[in-house]
């Protein structure tokens, strides 16, 4: 077994994701199977291989794609707030974060 119920709970907590008991067990089984499959990567010796985080090489993304830092109008605040779950223009309102002892 690659992944335990506690692992799934820990990960769901890291991801702020509420899971039901049924989901917990289903994901444990399915992800265990997927991780088992992923284990086949260990057949490959990658000690001397560089990790690849992205496709484009530096010469395609460095100087060529750094733009001037320009100030341009971006009048979307009203639209954005209009569809927010609990707007209090110009703010988003959220439940209280700081608890009083």
């Amino acid at each position: 077994m690659k992944i335990s119920r506690e692992d799934v709970l820990r990960v769901a907590e890291l991801a702020y994701l509420e899971l039901s008991e049924a989901e917990l067990e289903m994901y444990r089984l399915q992800i265990d199977e997927i991780l088992e499959y992923i284990g086949k990567l260990n057949e490959l010796d990658t000690a001397k291989v560089e990790p690849m985080a992205q496709v484009l090489s530096d010469d395609q993304t460095a100087d060529a794609t750094l733009r001037e830092d320009l100030i341009v109008p971006c009048a979307v605040a009203e639209d954005v707030l209009k569809h927010a779950p609990d707007p209090e223009p110009p703010y988003f309102r959220v439940p209280k974060v700081i608890e009083r002892q």
């Binding site: 992944i3 692992d7 799934v8 820990r10 990960v11 769901a12 890291l14 991801a15 702020y16 994701l17 509420e18 899971l19 039901s20 989901e23 994901y27 399915q30 992800i31 199977e33 997927i34 991780l35 499959y37 992923i38 086949k40 990567l41 260990n42 057949e43 490959l44 990658t46 291989v49 560089e50 990790p51 690849m52 985080a53 992205q54 496709v55 484009l56 395609q60 993304t61 060529a64 794609t65 750094l66 733009r67 979307v76 639209d79 954005v80 569809h83 927010a84 779950p85 609990d86 988003f92 959220v94 439940p95 209280k96 974060v97």
Partner: protein
Amino acid sequence: MTTNWTIDGVKEALAAKKTSARELAADFYKRIESRNPELNAYLTLSPERARRQTDKVDSLVAQGKPLPPLAGVPVAVKDVISTRGIKTTCGSKILENYFPPYDATAVERLEAAGAVILGKTNCDEFAMGSSNENSAYGPVKNPLAPDRVPGGSSGGSATVVAARLAVASLGTDTGGSIRQPGSFCGVPAMMGSYGRVSRYGLIAFASSLDRIGPLASNVKDVAAILQVIAGRDPHDSTSTTAPVPDYKAELEKPVKGLRLGIPKEYFGEGMDAGVRKKIETGIGLFKKLGCQLVDIRMPHTDYAIATYYIIATAEASSNLARYDGVRYGLRVDDDSLLAMYRKTRGAGFGAEVKRRIVLGTYVLSAGYYDAYYLKGQKVRSLIAQDFRDAFTKVDAILTPTSPVPPFKLGERTADPLQMYLADIYTVTGSLAGVPGISVPCGKIDGKLPVGLQIFGAPFGEARVLQLAHAFEQAEGAAV
């Protein structure tokens, strides 16, 4: 009025005043109204926005002014691509009432070229899926076989083209999500090189893999759409300055003498016998066209699914952190902020998205990062190297798009790993960043479409389109 519109056909009909852009759009909406309840391919229609655009085009025609390249062409846009003021759900409940405050660059460019956006197409939730069954708004039916899936995740975008409910569409491809539904619905479907088309306004799934690309009823139209949406965009730092060639001019170039690689690893076990037969016949057609077939090896192909599902889920777990019930989308109230986050995300995301968030968070978490995420990144290097090596020997690579033909609705939903494994022929090119197209390559028993995939070298879209066009002209769809 005909239903078999092409981009050139629309242009000619408008110029000859046989129809107007407004009439044409109205005709498409009429057909959508009649067919969409059954197909479920469109989630949202945008008739007002379409009307503003058709008025512009019709006024150009009336004034005898030159028409832009996509003037009056009715198109559809996948619902993970932002459209200002038009609901964009990503196929998710968490964005059930999301109205983007800006347009994706690809959308802006389509409209600047005169295209008429009819609406937004259904897809797997956040583009995660290979059957369109992961949409919170119900599955799409394959228009060629209504008991079967249209493929995914751009199932709606493929369906509307195949059912003639749009002349062309935009899809997105992270591990095969344009090419595989193109294959399942019998339409050409293209993913350009990573960096070819701006991702600005594409709601992110896996940022190092996500790409926007076109689907259309023929390769020439695919090329025409790509022409318009390709090229550098200051809003996406990963869109490159590599020049965009004139794809239409390249299309007609002869393919005789081109070297086409046939990688042994793509023809192993697990491929449906009917698919194999069609693909082999299709490859034979290239030989008849004078291409040289070359046996090649791509030894890391078998590791691509494992690599892909590490990298894609890791990036997804990070990208989807933004859905927290604060700024947009669903909120499930609670007195505590953290409980509000948990409940919102628990209620708003569907089963596949949660599965990928859990897996992606796990492979990135302390103690597992090196064993999974770093390992995946290293194997990704090896897979990209397979492609680089291949392109020192050949001009393009031919493979099946999918090992299986369109399968029945509900047939594969119970086993996520089996569903992932069917992405084997498409995820390789996604990881390597190369361009790829799926072109129709016959139908099994005259019913179920098969797609042939052509991979090109990075920024070799012209070569890919040229080969696809030659194949199509040689009746490849009827092999």
